[in-house]
Point group: C2
Chain length 449, copies 2
């Protein structure tokens, strides 16, 4: 006996808590969320559901919490195939003696397609519904993402020197515009320029990117101030810090996502604030490579938008945004010396809405609000490590394991059902991983002798 004023919904999900990740730090208790045509219709208390919605299908998730899908704003998905292959090494040794030679030998369109499939499966399983990716052969990543039903922003790499995907920066830029053309009508795939880093792209291509990004209305995604060495070398060779150089070149704007930003002085912070650029914080990668500490609390206090990324699995070594949220929330306190820095709700927003803002996708995703795409994650809190539930936001950020993610929807399409992938064959993927384990293991060991 539904209310005549009720609206048709394809799906109504009831949960013990719904946390929309909006600015007001709201938590709904015993509430439901309705989905129609892949969009969020609305949220209301469970007992008022029939008055609001005529449900095609109803789901009851007792002891669970609904949150927006997590947004991983920086990574190199295909590098999942290198997970754990060269750990506990200084950054330059890691890159020059291990990662770059491996990439030169093994990275192909197939490698990227299969590695990205594995990464997407890991991300869906752990509650991520959108990821920004900077890697070679982005057209293969686009294919893997759309086949899996996953949302992705491809930061197509632009690098001055020859790499598996392009001979130089010009080719990288040209191929980025091609990629953008090919996917401009996709509901799931968006494109960004991915100039690799200030030290690997010259002024000429950077200026072209600034102009083209404006013309095509695209974000720019770049490693910036990852290490002290990078900044010191720039000062030595070019007479200025990289962020100042990007400012002078016209790249610093709300289009720019500065990844890492572990080395920031007052002038850098002022330029970031003035320009409206975003910072993609990758705490676990920065720790693992001993790159330094991003001053997250200072950036937030100054009103700079900070989002979260795992970086590639070769330097993390997983794509687990729950772990990354926890690391970010814990580390911000220690780095600022203030235990009240980056509280739990803010950390959750950093992993969702603030990520969508950085990617320019916040009208589409990042929070549970009417009209946005139904990018939704359900998490079981009735586990031994998350009871009692005095505060569900606190449990999500400080105690939840990614394996507690039960259901995932992207654009209203279900990609995870009670922990099982619905759009990807898990067994095939484990076989693919085994193939690359054998291939890389054998050939790489031989190469080292």
């Amino acid at each position: 006996m539904s209310n005549p004023n009720a609206v048709d919904a394809d799906l109504v999900i009831h949960a013990s808590w719904i946390i929309p990740a909006t600015e007001d730090n709201l938590v709904h208790r015993d509430a439901c969320l309705a989905v129609a045509d892949g969009k969020i219709l609305g949220i209301c208390s469970s007992h008022a559901a029939d008055g609001h919605f005529r449900a095609g299908k109803t789901l009851h998730l007792d002891g669970q919490v609904l949150i927006p899908g997590l947004i991983n704003t920086h990574g190199h998905a295909a590098m999942t195939l290198f997970r754990g292959i060269a750990d506990d090494l200084p950054l330059q040794t890691w890159l020059e003696q291990h990662i770059w030679p491996l990439e030169a030998q093994f990275v192909s369109e197939d490698f990227v397609y299969q590695g990205t499939q594995l990464a997407i499966a890991e991300m869906i399983r752990s509650g991520t519904t959108c990821f920004a990716d900077m890697y070679f052969f982005p057209e293969a990543s686009a294919r893997a993402a759309t086949e899996a039903g996953m949302r992705v922003q491809l930061a197509a790499p632009v690098i001055d020197f020859p790499n598996p995907w392009s001979a130089n920066a010009d080719e990288g830029i040209f191929k980025t515009t091609q990629l953008h053309d090919a996917w401009r009508n996709s509901e799931l795939v968006s494109t960004a320029f991915g100039p690799h880093a200030p030290y690997s792209v010259a002024d000429g291509p950077l200026k072209r990117i600034a102009v083209l990004a404006e013309e095509l209305d695209l974000p720019i995604h770049m490693h910036v101030h990852e290490t002290a060495l990078e900044v010191a070398q720039a000062v030595r060779d070019l007479g200025q810090r990289p962020i100042k150089r990007l400012y002078d070149l016209g790249l610093l704007s709300p289009r720019l996502i500065c990844v890492h930003a572990t080395q920031l002085n007052e002038q850098d912070i002022e330029l970031l604030k003035e320009s409206g650029a975003h910072v993609a914080h990758c705490p676990e990668s920065n720790l693992k490579l001993a790159s330094g500490f991003c001053p997250v609390d200072t950036l937030l206090t100054r009103g700079i938008n900070v989002c979260l990324g795992t970086d590639g699995a070769a330097s993390n070594n997983d794509l687990d945004m729950f772990s990354e949220m926890r690391s970010a929330a814990l580390l911000a306190k220690a780095v600022s010396g203030d235990a009240s820095a980056l509280p739990a709700y803010r950390a959750l927003r950093m992993a969702t809405l603030d990520g969508a803002r950085a990617l320019g996708l916040d009208r589409m995703t990042g929070s549970l609000e009417p009209g946005k795409c139904a990018d939704i994650v359900a998490v079981r809190l009735d586990e031994l490590n998350t009871v009692p539930v005095h505060n569900p936001v606190s449990q999500l950020v400080y105690s939840t394991q990614a394996s507690q993610v039960s259901h995932v929807w992207v654009n209203g399409k279900q990609l995870l059902n009670d922990g099982e992938l619905t759009s990807i064959n898990r067994r095939n993927l484990l076989e693919i991983a085994r193939h690359w384990q054998d291939t890389l293991g054998t050939r790489y060991d031989t190469a080292k002798q």
Copy 2:
């Protein structure tokens, strides 16, 4: 057709990898481990199993790795019931306005028994087989541990001021000796003195503890140099740093486990080294309470034994030693500025053998070696977040979620079977957690008004 020289084993476990966590950084591939009478008989390659062992029962764990049970060297188990109740607050506000009033109102023998049961269940589920615990009513914790088949070292609290368990330090000391007497023949329970911290125990009781610990052959477990404030106040009020005071009082010795140690100068480190005291590193708690950074790499370089603890769930907020290993390994690199600091195998040893050393239990547990108790954990590595397995130790430390723990044995008795607790009723525990969620939630909210 077994070999006539083969030895009888109750259980032979075959796994894809066995990592004994010994000094030689050994990894066995496709190997088996035999157990008899609750002890480890030996390890050999799987294809040679029949020549070595006549197995009563055989288990094949393909895609899994065997490691020693993890040893959580510092916590307050019953505080699990306070998980998430007061987060993102400065240490003094957290303690004085939330934790201490809650403890005064709610902590009883029942609270400790039930809270410790919940903590033990969480620990078994996440691969911990031995924990050191400092909390009121340790006799209740001993009961919870023995009923569950869990190994525990009870650091019975000694505090000058009245608390739920004792009126003063003298009573705490007396009750500790009683506890020791009551459990001295237990296979699972050992006792330690738990003087709370230098600022909460006067010279007199500390001197008595030093003498009694020697006579009774017991460890001493103490919060030491947790915050800069603690050290500054000691210098202001007593004219010396706490570690120097402990040294003068005769407490600094291989019996002493210094918990936290985030504030160490060269003199402190020299005294720790000279005395052979241990450091229990609690990275996530130190980050969350913004206490500071323990200089782990420096301590290891100087030959000081460093072990790992989660601290209580009220300041972590879980008892997950996999997460703690990862945090320790990542943080040590960033704090030392050296990406090769605390490599994965060393982090695993810190969470196992080095913990056993600190607790004085290394002849009994901490590594997979013949003659030690069969405290064993099996972990599935064939999950989306841990393939490919280029390096199983790296996967365990940097990528594994605690939920991948499949089997746990303590003293040869199985406590976890394919993810299911065998000695504890999970459903009962979730009801207990719900009871305390309602009780604390309601009454605490009222108290705050």
